[in-house]
Symmetry: C2
Subunit: 133 residues, 2 copies
Amino acid sequence: MDKEEKMGVEDQLEMVAKAFVNHYYHLFDTNRAALAPLYHHTSMLSFEGQKIQGAEEIGQKLAQLPFEHCRHFISTIDSQPSPFGGGILVFVSGNLQLQGEEHQLKFSQMFQLIPTQHGSFFVQNDMFRLNYG
Amino acid sequence: MDKEEKMGVEDQLEMVAKAFVNHYYHLFDTNRAALAPLYHHTSMLSFEGQKIQGAEEIGQKLAQLPFEHCRHFISTIDSQPSPFGGGILVFVSGNLQLQGEEHQLKFSQMFQLIPTQHGSFFVQNDMFRLNYG
């Protein structure tokens, strides 16, 4: 039995969550236009309280954010299984550095990832908030 | 058709989320021992990275936190429907004042509420993080 087979469900969940977080923020910081395919037409984004539904609309919202470049620094990643449909809840906190800004902004964000028929995941739920001082 | 009947699903969701948040933090700040019944034996808490499962265990953890009194000040409440089982995702940010401490601590927390057969909700998922400076 190799190491991979011995991994518990919880380890697998954390591995998916970490891989997703790395992938998501790497895309966000290097090629925001490539984020839209991570969402489906049913997906929901709450961005600083603004609600947006659908992959295309969410992609447009993220592409049109009023800054060109940013960098996310991740502080914590928590994950739990959702009770239905094989979903994974991912809860992230960290700092966000906008180009040309001296200070970093604290943020927190949660995702629900839902498995696809092809063995990957899409983002069904996404809620983002800056944590002001 | 009265006002209540005209309410959309989204409004109802937000109403449940706000009522839950008010109830949860009121109990937390006035009678922490009364929080356990909000959870089920399947419930999960991730508290500053520590994972705890089950209503009784979660209740003990919350009761044993190393401070007697605290007060939560809520800044934002976001909510979205979970795609399965009628769940509601609730995402909270705010400040936490511990008794005898001068400074408030920023926190964020997410819950998944699942409907019961009796028309109320229980907390299936709970992830809490302090947002350090």
